[in-house]
């Protein structure tokens, strides 16, 4: 008894020392990780004249939100937020609806077809988008659409085109995640519905969909962030600069504020605000979404 207590003391001290070193390391790394963001924030808070006069590595002589206010007005940010909203909300809703229907339907078909389709959807989502962009660009230009849907009669340079490509490209990932999730649901529930004689769609709506709520919340959060953060598709498939969603619009805004890095910093931070809100408010869902795709169930 006594021997073990004596033996434990130096070990405990060693552990404590190790802990201190660990925290010192983690705090240093955290500071490094946060620094670029803090720096952007400091830059955004001080006027350009201050930076020019004293250099950027100096204590700010005046601090204000002017860069944020001016940036918001000059860049017309409210307008670009709206562009994003037009794309993100329908895209997320449609992709979740389609993916949950497909994932559900795949539990009902012969397992070999099920596996083949699952592989096809999953692999499609893993391709670099640049592999398919050239043909997609020409399809979007060539495919005629009624002018009631698209005013230029095409998918190119239209919100509907951007929504479509997001839905199709994100579909694979969502189907994969949801089909893994549905596999973990208790079989008895689904069978009970069959015994009751419920139709396929009724089983889906009243039994499967409610059970998938946690997975849908996680995926919805994740897809919101993915689509909000998209730069590539809208840059190439939306020609009119003023119609671009906010993330792709940053490309032009950067040119507009080329001479005033301080306002640009404020604009970039404001563009990040919705994703930062997601990070703070829906963090758990976001992380669950990320990990649902990588771990089973």
């Amino acid at each position: 008894m006594t021997a073990s207590v004596i033996a434990a003391t130096p070990k405990k001290r060693r552990i404590r020392k190790g802990r201190v070193a660990l925290h010192a390391f983690l705090i240093t790394m955290s500071a490094i990780w946060l620094w670029p963001l803090i720096w952007a924030f400091i830059t955004a808070l001080r006027p350009l004249s201050d930076t020019i006069k004293n250099g950027s590595w100096s204590w700010p002589t005046s601090i204000s939100l002017n860069n944020f206010i001016n940036g918001f007005q000059q860049a017309n940010l409210g307008y670009y937020y709206l562009n994003t909203l037009i794309v993100v909300v329908p895209a997320v809703l449609i992709v979740l609806l389609i993916a949950s229907l497909v994932a559900f339907a795949l539990t009902r078909v012969r397992s070999r077809i099920n596996l083949f389709l699952l592989l096809m959807f999953t692999a499609g989502n893993l391709l670099p988008p640049q592999v398919i962009i050239v043909p997609v660009y020409y399809i979007f230009n060539a495919l005629p659409l009624p002018t009631s849907i698209a005013d230029n009669g095409r998918l190119y340079d239209q919100y509907i085109g951007i929504i479509l490509i997001h839905v199709v490209f994100q579909m694979g990932f969502c189907i994969f995640v949801l089909s893994n999730y549905m596999r973990t649901l208790p079989k008895e529930l689904k069978e009970a519905a069959l015994v009751d004689g419920a139709s396929l769609l009724r089983t889906f709506r009243s039994i499967i969909l409610p059970l998938c709520a946690p997975a849908l919340a996680a995926l919805g959060t994740l897809e919101f962030t993915f689509i909000y953060n998209d730069f590539f598709w809208a840059l190439l498939l939306m020609k009119t600069g003023s119609k671009r969603p906010i993330t792709s619009a940053l490309n032009n805004l950067q040119g507009q504020f080329f001479t005033d890095q301080n306002v640009l910093a404020a604009v970039a931070l404001m563009v990040a605000v919705p994703t930062i809100i997601v990070y703070i408010a829906l963090q758990r869902h976001f992380i669950r979404g990320l990990t649902l795709g990588s771990t089973k169930g």
Partner: protein, 325 residues
């Protein structure tokens, strides 16, 4: 008279319709068998539309990229036999196109940097934060924060660090007038600067994925290793890392795919020129621009496709194995 073999395989006659899902002649338990004719139609529509879209806008274009790469099509008019140029686009890339090799090398550097530096750091953070230490959650939040930012925003945030009068040069005491280092303007430096910025985001992503995997590791394994007197390092490499094999595959796949997709960061910084050339950017610069060199861009797309088939196959093999269980 019915064929006896068919009879023995046929499901019990169901008045509502045939079973679409009978698990076949192996005679395993049939899953869901009672599907009405209407249900089957619904099933076909539900699966059919997404399959059509997936083929039309992903697999069709993939095939089209391959076909385009053998032509000199310039984006207008039909493609006739005259447009077929065989491997000419490829030989041009390999022998004459001065941007091709730099772009390929930059993609490989990106890959190597992610595989050997960024992902291991992410794994290291995950292992450190997986133990019961005070504030683990707090540290996790900080490291994963950049993951929610778009790469376009990440690019602008890091431009402020790298600018000739930005933080890094100022902190090093270098000024614009004398000897400031132009981190993003110097073609032999800027790829490294961009890789650091890209890693800032990638590390958190890998950390989150790995942490989730570590949580599912049976704790008794660790206890057993501790009783055997294994050090933390030994426990990780000999016990934890091997049982994490499925997550390790995901990490490798995510890392490789992310480095092949790299586009946004280089584009926002300088449109992927002057030392930041990437295969992805060369594709769009050649084919979706005034030049409309569809053939050449598509040949680059095919090369990107071939490289990305490696991680994709790896991942699909894993999916097949885990689904087959």
């Amino acid at each position: 008279m019915p064929d006896p073999q068919v009879l023995s395989l046929a499901p019990a006659p169901a008045p509502t319709g045939a079973g679409v899902v009978a698990s076949g002649p192996t005679g395993k338990r049939r899953r869901y068998s009672i599907l009405t004719g209407q249900d089957r139609l619904v099933l076909v529509v539900i699966v059919g539309i997404p399959v059509f879209l997936d083929v039309g806008l992903i697999w069709g274009p993939t095939l089209a990229s391959i076909l385009f790469s053998f032509t000199n099509w310039q984006g207008y008019g039909g493609i006739t036999a005259k447009n077929i140029v065989g491997l000419q686009n490829y030989t041009f890339l390999f022998t004459q196109y001065t941007l091709f090799w730099p772009a390929l090398i930059h993609n490989l550097m990106w890959l190597a940097f992610f595989v050997f530096i960024a992902s291991p750091i992410g794994i290291f953070f995950a292992v450190l934060l997986d133990r019961e230490i005070r504030g683990s959650r707090f540290y996790q939040n900080i490291f994963y924060f950049p993951v929610v930012l778009s790469l376009a925003v990440v690019g602008i945030i890091w431009e402020l660090q790298y600018a000739p009068d930005g933080f890094i040069d100022s902190a090093l005491g270098l000024t614009k007038q004398t000897n400031a280092i132009d981190w993003l303007g110097n073609p032999s430096l800027n790829i490294w600067a961009v890789l650091v910025a890209a890693s800032w985001r990638h590390v958190g992503y890998i950390m989150v994925l790995y942490l989730a995997g570590l949580k599912s590791v049976d704790p008794t394994l660790r206890e057993a290793a501790a009783i055997d007197g294994a050090s933390d390092v030994q426990t990780f490499f000999r016990v934890i890392f091997p049982v994490m094999a499925p997550i390790n595959v995901v990490i490798v796949v995510v890392t490789v795919i992310e480095s092949l997709r790299a586009f946004d960061l280089a584009y926002i910084i300088n449109q992927g020129t002057n030392g930041l050339e990437l295969l992805s950017i060369l594709i769009t610069n050649n084919s979706i621009s005034e030049a409309s060199l569809v053939g050449r861009g598509s040949a680059i797309a095919v090369i990107l496709l071939v490289i990305s088939l490696v991680p994709i196959t790896l991942y699909l093999t894993r999916v097949m194995r885990s689904t087959g269980e």
